[in-house]
Symmetry: D2
Subunit: 392 residues, 4 copies
């Protein structure tokens, strides 16, 4: 039975269409919904809707659901639509009349968002810690091979002498700067929607700050209408952040794909990282890097979906917003996996000193020769033209 | 065992990362791969690689796999990566040495594409027939309620008198025009990649036209290099086509959402199409329409992924291209479901005559009054200014 | 004075904001608007709104405007908003009362679209002929250097032997296939909106086919409501087509950038095509190719704008749609310029035989060696594993 | 003469193609380039490349250029490509040999970025102050009309009673939260690229912090390679920020468009904000709001361009990156104009009390009636079903 079920039954084709993937996707949200519901019950106790004993019973029933879920025994049926219904139904079954009180002072709308945001906040912490692992791996790579000189390119043409250190440090600095965005994403996401109902508040006197603090939020969204305006929007800043992380990995993968190609051969991927071809027996292909490169585009597409979906709509909740869940979840998974795999790559990457040395062809030193003349007092532009003449 | 497996085993974390969703997604491709492989075997017979008896054995083994799959007994193991490996492994198990010959004159590269395109071509036919069903339903709607007058809007402001007929016919004409794109998508997709190997041909004398015709393709891609350039590209035209279909449905859903809102109330959705709210007991929400509207954006995002993924890459196959499969499959599913559900909506939609009549307020007739004056001989611009004066 | 001007003057800040770039962009449309207006006047004559003499006068006044425009003397003032107002005002000034009749049986809405579509159709012809020039240049390149062997790559790794012929022919075949989309774009665009007014028809008996044929359209859009649904939509198919052309050029440019890099050095760009660096005197940079590569992304972004802009909107005209003009115009310009410049590149490209020969390293021949064993009777998969053993 | 000009002249067609719009776009950068160049000259003085007198001369010549530019007399010729060349050429003309020294210890690459970032930082301040103006206007609106009750909608259906205060406060809170992103954008942008040359440093001992501080940057990018990785990337965070601001305005405009439509009629736009129709004399169209709504999509498209352009490219500068300038500039202009115009709308918006009262139909009070029963002790879900029965 659905939370909103009354006499008329939903047409079965419409039901199949509207339920979609939710029962599967929501398995990730069960524990967060229970956690928020425990906070909600304590707030209802403070408001006098539940007595202390009732609140306790609800808390222990919700903890039981978390245990069931952890052991793989909590199931969301198709006709329950989502985890929120499954959990309320479970409460009503185990607690009888008391279960019917848990939805007081909330709507599924703010309930869904509370669970989603607690989940997103946990994932953001995972992203942050994965970035720190990556930075450590890049630093180790830099310590292992940093002093080896390699050609620096501009316009895919040899430009000036670079080094493994300069190359790796650039990526590390860029990735470290991404943490600023990660923190802003968290600051924006870390706002409680609890107690805003369907976007126009609850006609009861409740303590929203209290519920928020118990659930683990740092602050509340003041105005119920902002909660609905922020749905999909805060997610889009989160996924934007993921695209920035992934862009760095995309560029890093692009470098490694090209410069481990044997004609250059500066970098060497471990043999057991490479896949083969079904027709060409010699092939050692960097599929792992190509997939990291590719995932950038998937995540970018997800961001675009988030951003176009709510455009041109009036304010207030629309069902369209529920489809923002899947692209965010997918983007988080792909990003976490990609950071972890590139950390593994950084940890195991080898550098071929001889190939690097062979790559240091004379044109890479032209600018240094200009600067020798500058140090001897020649105006820069004259020195530039003098050396440039040799290359025409 | 993978098709390209040699001595070195793939690192398990790399393997998990690279295999991804393929074993699940590829369940849709099993029968198409078998169908193309039967054609391939016959071509090998013609080329003298297989004798007629061998070709027969392979054909019946592949038909057996189709049966297994139809009855839900064909399984793709994670370590087989994809349906192509699972099928070749199955052949080798059942046919011994003979199974090792099936991959002659092809690469997994052209094999995958052949199966995908046969699948896409079948789906395109399904889309086409779903569109025809939709057109029929719109035509019936027009016959049921066409003569009822409704306000026509520009700038979300009442403009001139329209009718259910004019409203529905505009959508039908737009949808019918989409069929031109559907056909172009099919023409582009209906090209055989078979026998182009990894993108540089096969060092054997083979009859590509023969294999193509047996598999059901109308023509072949002449140059092996084009096959790789077209991967993701032909798909992007297909998904562009889907976005055009979905844009019409998005606009249609937008009209129905607004004009079934009781303040206007021109249209009435069946009660069993509407969902409720967990907090507001009176709500009858058009979730089904909102989700159709939302799916447009998912499909558009998928198109963008297809288009950005291969940009800036040199020619020749890259593993990145394999990630184009999921967004195309998802877009086809969502579009087919959305057309079907909007067909159901069109079949059951009701029109509220009284609300429509009440909506026909005087300003809708201002332009007709201008034209009365024009018919009496007044220059248009003067008539316009005369009537316009009344509204200032 | 604006076409819709009555007593209330528009707030000057609002006016500046709403007029935007139109006076500049519309300079491209003047002659197309005049051409459509001549057809419109003849249709009004047929409908008895104008007498033959009036129609003649209007025709010659409009031809005069085309002349003025061709000689650079037709100006669109900011306060006229757009070319349509400027032209009607000009007619009213030169023809007095008669000028006030020209807007009979049309709205600026269908008028704008008629001019835009005639302009787009002309541009589509230019694109088509630019593609033919490009195909000729690729064919000449193939004749000059086709027989030179080059490495074929997959996964940015050497795969099998290719040739300049196979490489160039793949691009040519891909570009030729784009013509199918070009033709579909034209078929869709080649529909007259004339006489549909603001999207709900004209309260007069007019011959829309007659006007369409005179203006040069092949058919009419039957239902006035379809005209508004198609705005931005037909444009998005056109710009999708441009992205397909540009993707081929993006990939071609990517090949040329990498393989003219001296480490590979297969291709040589003319010296006077390369730009330098302000600091590194040796640099010869392929900016021209990098910009072609980049323009793909601009045009793709423009397509996305077209596709997201009208999503989630109810049917009927919205001012939002007017902002579709700029991205289409820009995309057409960039595509035409890019095809022309890549034609020039193809015409002048040189191939370095020695560098190509040096690139043909042994692993490129591994597959051929497998097939030698196949020809001797060994099952493919055994031959593959035998040769593969040498590369582990 | 270009900075990198040597003997070979660029092919004129290539030159026209590569120069593109830069001479026009760069007019916005002249003063920022001069400001950064003054800092650069002082750094060169500190490094002993220039003596104090030379540095002074350069400073006063650059200030002269700013004056020329402010008075409209500084021109960038097509063959100078960009403002950087025009400025260096001007210095060389006015200072002779000394002018040839200014380019010591920099590349056009870091020079362009320094000027662009100083310009972006100024624009970010303008955005921030425009947001504060908007917040003030919304606050005034709230004070003028906040107490008026209006219907709150979910799923475009009446949900619960809202008010002008709750409606306006939601937008204000959302916009205020955007300031967090504005600040993060600034923090990321506020990093000096000066002295990193073409991305691989300068072979001279220079004080990058000194130059950065003089130019007005808070910190430097430590590694020259990061500078190139950040090009386009930092811009994409800036434009993402603009999309968040614009999404709020898009939603606000959507509300105002629908709810100022006379059937609802809650809001009233000033008459001199509305445009008319060329055919329908009664029309008062909210073009201004529709254009704000539309600009969201343009800016989103620009963000996508920034994000796809550098994907799949190896590290190091590519000319592609230069095309990121135009979409950022355009996005800043459109956003600033849109905030300003919506501030004007908020300042002048009227609310129709009677229409609002008429909109408060009974179903809006159903949830309050549920909560009356809850306050009397009925479990929420029972109360919900009791009241819900009345609406079936």
């Amino acid at each position: 039975m659905k939370l909103w079920q009354k006499k008329t039954k939903l047409n079965p084709r419409i039901e199949a269409f509207t339920v979609g993937d939710d029962p599967v996707l929501d398995m990730k949200l069960v524990k967060y919904d229970c956690r928020a519901s425990i906070a909600h019950a304590k707030m209802l106790e403070k408001a006098g809707i539940l007595d202390p004993n009732e609140s306790k019973q609800i808390e222990s029933a919700l903890k039981k659901i978390i245990e069931l879920h952890d052991s793989g025994h909590f199931i969301i049926e198709k006709d329950q639509e989502d985890c929120h219904t499954a959990i309320e139904n479970h409460l009503t079954e185990s607690l009888g009349e008391l279960g019917k009180k848990i939805h007081t002072a909330r709507s599924r709308n703010d309930q869904v968002l509370a669970a989603l945001r607690l989940y997103y906040l946990d994932e953001i912490s995972r992203i942050e810690s994965a970035i720190h692992d990556f930075l450590r791996a890049m630093h180790d790579l830099l310590k292992r091979h940093g002093s080896i000189q390699i050609p620096g390119f501009t316009h895919t043409r040899k430009a000036m002498v670079s080094s493994v250190a300069l190359w790796a440090a650039g990526y590390a600095e860029s990735m470290a700067d991404n943490l600023r965005l990660v923190h802003t994403s968290r600051d924006l996401m870390d706002q409680s929607p609890m107690g805003t109902g369907a976007g126009y508040g609850i006609p009861l006197d409740i303590d929203r700050e209290y519920a928020a603090a118990l659930a683990g939020f740092s602050r509340i969204q003041q105005h119920a209408t902002y909660v609905q305006l922020s749905r999909g929007k805060l997610e889009s800043t989160l996924v934007h952040t993921l695209t920035q992380v992934m862009l760095d990995l995309n560029r890093l993968a692009s470098d490694l794909i090209l410069f481990s190609e044997p004609t250059f051969g500066f970098f060497i991927l471990p043999a057991d990282f490479c896949t083969g071809s079904s027709i060409m027996p010699q092939k050692k292909n960097p599929d792992v890097l190509e997939l990291v490169r590719a995932h950038y585009h998937r995540i970018l597409a997800n961001e675009i979906q988030l951003k176009t979906q709510t455009g041109n709509l009036i304010s207030g909740y629309h069902r369209d917003m529920q489809t923002t869940k899947k692209p965010v979840m997918e983007s988080l998974d792909l990003t976490l996996n990609s950071i972890a795999i590139m950390t593994l790559v950084a940890e195991t990457l080898d550098v071929d000193k001889e190939k690097c040395a062979a790559g240091l062809t004379p044109e890479l030193f032209a600018t240094e020769r200009v600067y020798e003349l500058v140090r001897q007092g020649m105006p820069f532009r004259d020195a530039y033209r003098k050396i440039g003449g040799e290359f025409e």
